[in-house]
């Protein structure tokens, strides 16, 4: 699996911070209605979130309950919508619970990597100087190593499990935030309203928190939404390779790993978790692309 390096261009559009909340939400949906790919992405994400919150109450079977008398049942037999796996566990229930794991990993990673990367990007872009040089060298060095391999090696060394895969993904992922946010801050610094602030004697930190930070909201949202899909696929790949989330925890990646031994006899084991990953990645990508096109006036019409 390969990882995309998203290019979020400078958003020189200045967000109106005092915008009426109601109208912002209305604008969001009006914009969404104009793009059917955006709608599809939004609906997929919504369903995914609902499943991951309410999943434990809608699963028809216990996703961890093994029953050898029912192993490898094909789909639509014995009340098992998507069949059962090699231990007789219900695949549908496991996929539902797997959604929660994917969402937790995607969101936690983006939160950690995004926060850390943004802080580094702001320090680098706003204070410049030798700090900027050192930080950006580190970013350059890390970007010159394949993301998925980095995550894999770190995870293999520090050990598997939910917490460690999030740490590994965050270590691999923060650099993109640092790079993009830095260039956003650099562009913002040159804006006239910042010059005006400096001229009227607003303090350095006042400018940073009141005037620069609010304007970073849009690029952070765009980048986050584009990155979540990358993290979810990367986690699935790492778990598929036997690291990451460990069985019996039902992550989509390790379900495929366990199912691959039965590929010649039971196709459903490797089919449905993969479709779940694909639909999720598709939804997040479509929504992210739409967000970028909508929020970023420069890219419009491309």
């Amino acid at each position: 699996m390969t990882v995309d390096f998203p290019k979020v261009p400078h958003t020189t559009k200045i967000r109106n911070v005092r915008k009426n909340r109601q109208s912002a939400i209305t604008t969001f949906f009006l914009n969404l209605m104009r793009s059917w790919t955006g709608i599809i992405g939004f609906i997929i994400i919504l369903i995914l979130l609902l499943i991951s919150i309410f999943g434990q109450w809608i699963v028809p079977f216990d996703p961890l309950l093994a029953d050898f008398s029912k192993k490898l049942l094909p789909p639509m037999t014995g009340g098992h919508l998507l069949g059962t796996d090699q231990l007789g566990r219900d695949i549908f229930s496991r996929i539902i619970m797997g959604a929660k794991i994917s969402v937790i990993i995607g969101l936690s990673t983006v939160l950690i990597a995004g926060t850390f990367g943004t802080i580094v990007g702001i320090i680098s872009g706003y204070f410049r100087g030798w700090v900027d040089v050192v930080l950006m060298r580190i970013v350059d060095v890390q970007l010159s190593f394949p993301f998925i391999l980095l995550v894999l090696v770190i995870n293999a060394i520090i050990g598997s499990g939910l917490r460690n895969i999030i740490i590994s993904l965050a270590i691999g992922g923060w650099v993109i935030f640092a790079r993009v946010i830095r260039s956003e801050v650099l562009a913002l610094r040159e804006q006239e309203f910042i010059t005006a602030c400096v001229a009227t004697g607003v303090s350095k930190f006042g400018i940073l928190f009141k005037h620069i930070l609010p304007n970073l909201f849009t690029p952070i949202i765009i980048l986050s939404s584009l990155q979540i899909g990358t993290y979810i696929i990367a986690e699935a790949s790492v778990s598929f390779l036997g690291f990451g989330v460990q069985p019996p925890e039902p992550a989509w990646g390790n379900m495929l790993n366990e199912g691959k031994d039965y590929i010649f006899s039971s196709w459903w084991l490797i089919t449905f978790p993969g479709i779940a990953i694909m639909i999720t990645a598709l939804g997040v990508n479509l929504f992210g692309d739409w967000l970028r096109d909508t929020l970023d006036t420069e890219l419009k019409g491309e």
């Binding site: 699996m1 790919t37 394949p146 998925i148 520090i158 790949s237 690291f243 590929i263 990953i277 990645a281």
Partner: protein
């Protein structure tokens, strides 16, 4: 230009050394290295004895210095399992990885460029819409899953292609397709958008107005001018292809560097892991270096910076 090349060459060296440093310390922080050399039932005295013998009782910065001095001379020690020399073992797997990556690259270009060009030329046609939809879908399919699905259809069901291993050209087909899929989607999308930009240019309109035949217009005037950004993207994507090769190799039991690296990570065979990281980082850095030089050569503005 020479300044730029030297600066970037230094960066290549720094990247590789830093990658080794980080992995070295990660490994040391993750547990007692002595235990890896001994069976799990070794007594405390035996462990202490070995620790001294292997030099793990010394301060870590001395161990690190020694490791780096040996590493830059190509000595990464021996595999903890097979006792083979680590670096030669990794290097012996390199041709298989290159074979897979290069054939996937060629395949993806052969599909993506004509598809992207046609898609741009027939903009908003049914063909264009289907091709765009496929590229969006192609970027969402995890490559290891695509590999499993291909194995299911071509090996398990139709029984016309092997499900894994290497040895003949037939073994290459499924891994090559698996690895190429994502690149096809990415390159097609990029070729299409680059071609759309070029087709909008004045000189294309002029050529069209003066009656240049379509094939010549698209092939000679438009495609030729789109090739520079496409080549740059391809060069930049080679590293990503290399990362993808690791996973594809595992799915298809392809005997390359990626599979070796994976097995060594599983076995905690760290000399091989370090040698593998060294080789991957080196190749990746060199590819990026070449891409940058290519880009600087094409775009003089970069050189000045």
């Amino acid at each position: 230009m020479l300044d730029f090349i030297i600066k970037r060459l230094i960066q290549v060296v720094v990247v590789v050394l830093l990658a080794l440093t980080v992995v070295f310390f990660l490994i040391r922080l993750s547990g007692d290295p002595t235990a890896l050399f001994l069976p799990p039932d070794a007594s405390r005295e035996q462990i202490e004895e070995y620790r001294e013998m292997l030099g793990f009782d010394r301060p870590i910065y001395i161990q690190y210095g020694e490791f780096m001095v040996n590493a830059v001379q190509g000595d990464f020690g021996q595999s903890l399992r097979s006792k083979e020399d680590a670096l030669p073992l990794v290097l012996s797997r390199l041709p298989a990885t290159f074979q897979l990556a290069i054939s996937a690259l060629i395949l993806s270009l052969l599909i993506a460029i004509p598809l992207g060009v046609l898609s741009a030329y027939k903009r908003n046609s049914v063909f264009d819409r289907i091709s765009v939809a496929l590229t969006v879908l192609g970027q969402a399919v995890p490559s290891f899953w695509l590999g499993l699905i291909l194995i299911y259809f071509f090996a398990a069901q139709l029984n016309i292609l092997p499900s894994g291993g290497a040895g003949s050209i037939v073994h290459l087909i499924l891994p090559m397709i698996t690895l190429a899929a994502y690149s096809v989607a990415r390159f097609t999308r990029f070729t299409r958008s680059t071609m759309l930009d070029v087709l909008r240019k004045d000189y294309i309109r002029t050529a069209k107005a003066s009656g240049v035949p379509t094939i010549r217009l698209v092939g000679r005037y438009a495609l030729k001018n789109s090739l520079i950004p496409i080549i740059t993207l391809v060069a930049l994507d080679l590293g990503t292809l290399l990362g993808g090769a690791v996973i594809t190799e595992v799915v298809f039991a392809w005997p390359g560097v990626g599979r070796l690296l994976m097995q060594s990570l599983m076995n905690r065979d760290f000399p091989i892991v370090l040698a593998g990281v060294f080789i991957v980082a080196l190749i990746y850095a060199v590819i990026n270096f070449i891409a940058d030089i290519l880009y600087a050569y094409v775009n003089p503005q970069i050189r000045v910076k």
